[in-house]
Symmetry: C2
Subunit: 188 residues, 2 copies
DNA sequence: ACCGACATGTAAGCTGTTACATGATTCC
DNA sequence: GGAATCATGTAACAGCTTACATGTCGGT
């Protein structure tokens, strides 16, 4: 239940409802979860049972009542303890690499088509991330310059990963042209 | 059940037992699964039911009998179809970025300690991957020059990702020294 | 008339993990 | 004597996903 700490973190920034948290989680690729209701609402109930958050209902006139969660002292301590715990390596799950691993059954044309499609998807994603950054719509609590810097670097981490991936696939496409084929020809 | 295609791929290379597949899956970071028995053996049973593989028992003198799986024509067609399907973006799940997102509660020293630990872990991983490559112990069917090139590039993809991550964390540690702290001081 | 935002929650299911269970053989 | 390799398989559960269920309000 790793999302627990993402939620505690958001609540340490400001009290939120489940609905708010869903939007926050989906707003940044660093919070990689889908932000589905089930996970968020049940985690909040669990955090409440553990005494890490409190909740209060806020009735509204035109909309359903909001259940606003606030982090407790115990919750802040729990979050702090986790933040200081041993960092773990990032996990990459790239099904594309598995596809590529068994792509030798393809013709040169089919393989390059596959690589071209992948390059296009990466470019699209990169363009989207850069556009978001340019327009300054990325999430950033920015309670002080250091936090602002950290969140900017987190965004940059994602952009850089896709930039690397794009560079890699271009190098791959370029290099494969010079590799002799099974039939002895080069390329095509 | 994405691992299905990883398994079909290995079987398209050579007939294998569940035990063999477990070792193959864990041998390369591209096949990101843990390679646990449950997943592999149950997937093999499912592939068999679907007619994508056949099995035969091979008794041995000193060891338990081996159940050797071989891919069928239907299995090869299924694999080929999947390899040609739309490539998807890689998924990065980096809990460290979540840790970092809420690291503003830490002192400058604690934060740098966390970053130093992360840098050390990445360096260790990178050294391990490079050592494996240097010693040439990486998996590579290499049925022809093109396949050899592809598998080399897959290994390079992983090395490059960690190299990027290392460069990023160094840049972060360096940059954070010049960011004014909450108390107005720089660094420390 | 329909769609999206607001707001809460539940059901069912898929994927993948750790750990268990068995048992011979080989190496240190 | 203990650990690792060979080899099969199962049980229990953690984590996360899609889809369902309900209902009001505001815009096109």
């Amino acid at each position: 239940m790793d999302i627990k700490y993402a939620i505690l973190g958001f609540l340490s920034w400001q009290p939120c409802t489940g609905y708010d948290l869903k939007k926050l989680v989906t707003s940044s690729p660093a919070f990689y979860w889908s932000g589905n209701n089930n996970q968020i609402y049940t985690t909040l109930v669990k955090l409440h049972k553990e005494g890490l958050v409190t909740d209060r209902m806020q009735p509204q006139e035109r909309y359903p009542a909001r259940r606003i969660y606030t982090v407790t002292e115990a919750g802040l301590a729990e979050l702090r303890g986790w933040v200081l715990s041993e960092p773990e390596l990032p996990q990459y799950r790239a099904m594309f690499l598995v596809q590529l691993a068994w792509a030798d059954a393809l013709s040169a044309g089919e393989l390059d088509g596959l690589l071209a499609k992948y390059e296009e998807e990466i470019k699209l994603q990169l363009r989207m991330l850069r556009e978001r950054e340019r327009r300054g719509i990325n999430l950033n609590p920015a309670r002080n310059p250091r936090e602002k810097y950290i969140w900017t670097m987190i965004d940059e981490n994602h952009i850089g990963r896709y930039a690397y991936e794009l560079e890699w696939v271009r190098r791959l496409r370029d290099g494969i042209k010079n590799v002799p084929q099974a039939n002895g020809k080069k390329g095509e």
